[in-house]
């Protein structure tokens, strides 16, 4: 019988320092610079780390003691009270419901008018290519816009190694490399897989090795 695993894994808060930022250092700098533009928009491919950055930014705001809120247009409708916050992050703007586009537009305007507060948005496409209301789309392009570059394979290996280390897992490098070529390549999926491997390894009482990974990948549903 498999060993039952007591779920004691800490839920790590996303933080800027866990973001492998070699190519995105400029973005992180702009996000934490209190003098910088108050309206920011990040765009890039799925898995490039935008949501991570948004959440890290919110954590950063919390640390500063600012009222902050993270909103995900993919999951929820935008609440009217969002405007009460002074750090507002809106993820997946490409998927904003038409009514929510008006809400965001209105939030944008009141922040602009108020002269304080910050708005960080993220989406897959550059502002000009967003299929949103014109008045909102141009406002998104009005602020500071960055493309978040996807991580290189080396960046991903480094991020995975760091993640494993934070969990005090001893995982040989060839496992990471194997995952990179045999599993989904975005960092979120890779990190999830490491966590899954951790649980398997505990349950099966076997070290994490390439053969174990192969075994698990075969039994896990194939990547969609």
């Amino acid at each position: 019988m498999d060993q039952l695993v007591l779920n004691l894994t800490p839920e790590p808060l996303p933080a800027f320092d866990s973001f492998v930022a070699e190519r995105n250092r400029e973005v992180v700098t702009a996000l934490i610079d209190p003098q910088a533009e108050r309206f920011l928009y990040l765009w890039g491919e799925p898995g490039s780390g935008k949501s991570h950055l948004l959440q890290a930014w919110i954590a950063h705001a919390e640390a500063l003691g600012r009222a902050s809120i993270y909103l995900d247009a993919r999951v929820d409708r935008l609440p009217e009270f969002a405007r009460e916050a002074s750090f507002i992050a809106v993820d997946h703007v490409d998927e904003l419901h038409p009514d929510d586009q008006i809400t965001l537009f209105s939030i944008y305007n009141s922040l602009k008018e108020a002269g304080e507060g910050r708005l960080l948005m993220a989406g897959r496409r550059p502002p000009m290519a967003l299929a949103l209301r014109d008045d909102l789309r141009t406002r998104i392009g009005w602020g500071l816009v960055f493309e978040v570059k996807p991580l290189s394979d080396d960046d991903k290996l480094a991020a995975l190694a760091r993640h494993a280390e934070s969990r005090q897992l001893a995982i040989p490098d060839d496992v990471f490399r194997y995952l990179l070529t045999h599993w989904r390549r975005d960092l979120a999926s890779l990190v999830d897989m490491i966590d899954l491997l951790d649980r398997y390894s505990l349950a099966l009482r076997r070290p994490i090795t390439v053969p174990l990974v192969k075994n698990i990948l075969q039994t896990t549903s194939s990547p969609s």
């Binding site: 250092r25 400029e26 700098t29 702009a30 910088a36 533009e37 008006i102 537009f105 209105s106 305007n109 009141s110 008018e113 550059p126 502002p127 000009m128 290519a129 299929a131 014109d134 008045d135 789309r137 141009t138 406002r139 392009g141 009005w142 602020g143 500071l144 816009v145 960055f146 493309e147």
Partner: protein, 463 residues
């Protein structure tokens, strides 16, 4: 010959009359002239200005030469005249339309003082003190609207201009323009009851007033204003309660000789779902359009923005950004912010190289550059004519009109020169292209269907 020496001052005087002051200050004033042996040499401070003069103004200057002094060849060079280094080159930075002689430092000071002078009472207006006529860059696209706005700022409530209805695409400076009126009125009369509000907020405020049973108060407040500025009135469409309330407020204000100013993304008749009574009232006063800024105006906007932020921006750098970011003023300003952020991040001065690096992703994204081929194809399909008709010599209207539209679109969406566009349409002359652009611009002003078609095509091509 004295004739030749006098030509340039005379030519300057004529050009000053023909061009907008923005155009004149940006492009013509930086030039210095020197009479050569057999030609007049015009020196431009850099090759961007030279190129621009060559494309846009050289033909006109040559015409004037013929008219004023007979045959006089004109030569363009980069640099300054050799013999007169003492005369300092006029700074290429464009100055606002105000008198050029006045020291810009003094102007800036005056502006700062003005901004400071706007005190606590100003807050209730919800106006942004930075939006003034002085900080508004003027060009072909908005000079008419600006002139009307100035009139109203001087004489708010004048029946001939009441209401003022300003319409145009997003991000072209409608809000800036109407707030400039508000600020001007406030400066002249701080006791005036002024309120700027975005239509979306107005709708929400009405709802709240109902919920809190504070409706009478709401009504009293809006009916008591001296100047009401409502932005993006198209938000009222389909909201019957709001339209009804606004109808009463509007009537009360107009009857009392109070000024109402609105902006909208489209012509009154084209607002879908808007109350007919309101639509007809919107047209009682003056309706003006703001059009997208041309290249030179975009350059001027960037220079102005940089000046306001105490940034040193070289003309060629502004030119490069303006040339590559063409959609609207907001994205233009966004691009400048990006450049500044990158310069700060990398601790390097703003040079052309740095700008190219900073805007790499924006440029790459915009570089799904629209081609003439794509324009011809889209327009041909839209009007159900053959693609070959784009190049053909046929002149029947059902073919010529779409062809003209395609030419106008090519001018707007591609960086090609008029002769290049002419070539792409079966080797036509650049004057034919120019004629097409003018015709279409006119038609768009008079013919709603044409305006609609054009905007639709523009959208199709941009996406």
């Amino acid at each position: 010959m004295t004739d030749r020496d006098q030509f340039w001052p005379a030519c300057l005087a004529r050009l000053a009359g023909e061009l907008s002051s923005q155009q004149f200050n940006t492009w013509i004033k930086p030039l210095t002239a020197e009479a050569g042996e057999d030609a007049l040499v015009l020196f431009a401070p850099n090759r961007f200005i030279l190129q621009f003069i060559k494309d846009r103004f050289l033909a006109r200057i040559e015409e004037l030469a013929v008219e004023l002094v007979g045959e006089l060849p004109i030569e363009l060079r980069v640099g300054a005249p050799g013999k007169a280094p003492a005369a300092p080159a006029t700074p290429p930075a464009p100055r606002p339309a105000a008198s050029a002689a006045a020291g810009s430092a003094m102007q800036a000071q005056a502006k700062q003082a003005a901004v400071k002078a706007i005190g606590a009472g100003h807050e209730s207006t919800r106006l942004n003190p930075a939006f003034t006529f002085e900080s508004l860059v003027t060009g072909k696209g908005n000079q008419l609207a600006r002139a009307a706005a100035l009139q109203i700022a001087e004489n708010p409530g004048d029946a001939a201009y009441n209401p003022l209805f300003v319409y145009g695409g997003v991000g072209l400076g409608k809000t800036h323009l109407i707030q400039a009126i508000g600020n001007h009125v406030y400066q002249k009369n701080p006791a005036a009851k002024i309120r700027y509000i975005h239509a979306e907020r107005y709708v929400a405020d009405i709802m709240r007033a109902y919920q809190h049973k504070a409706f009478d108060e709401f009504k009293r407040y809006y009916h008591s204003l001296d100047l009401l500025l409502i932005d993006d009135i198209q938000f009222f469409a389909g909201k019957n309660r709001t339209m009804e309330e606004f109808f009463y407020a509007f009537n009360a204000l107009l009857e009392g000789g109070k000024q109402v100013i609105m902006t909208c993304d489209t012509f009154p008749r084209h607002i879908e779902g808007m109350d007919e009574r309101l639509i007809s009232r919107f047209s009682w006063g003056l309706t003006v359009e703001i059009q997208p800024p041309e290249l030179e105006m975009r350059v001027a906007i960037l220079m102005k923005k940089a000046e306001a932020d105490n940034l040193k921006l070289e003309h060629n750098v502004a030119f490069f950004i303006a040339q590559n970011v063409r959609s609207n003023v907001r994205e233009l300003e966004g691009a400048l912010k990006r450049v500044v952020a990158y310069s700060r991040f990398s601790n390097q001065p703003i040079t052309l190289e740095l700008v190219k690096e900073a805007l790499k992703d924006i440029l790459a994204a915009g570089n799904r550059q629209v081609t003439v081929d794509a324009i011809q194809k889209t327009v041909a399909e839209f009007y159900k004519i053959k693609l070959s008709d784009m190049h053909s010599k046929k002149r029947s209207r059902d073919i010529a009109r779409p062809r003209q539209i395609a030419m106008a679109l090519a001018k707007e969406l591609t960086p090609l020169s008029l002769p290049n566009i002419g070539d792409a349409f079966g080797g036509r002359d650049h004057t034919t292209v120019l004629h097409a652009c003018k015709t279409i611009a006119e038609l768009r002003g008079n013919d709603a269907d044409m305006a609609n078609d054009y905007d639709t095509l523009l959208q199709m091509l941009r996406n």
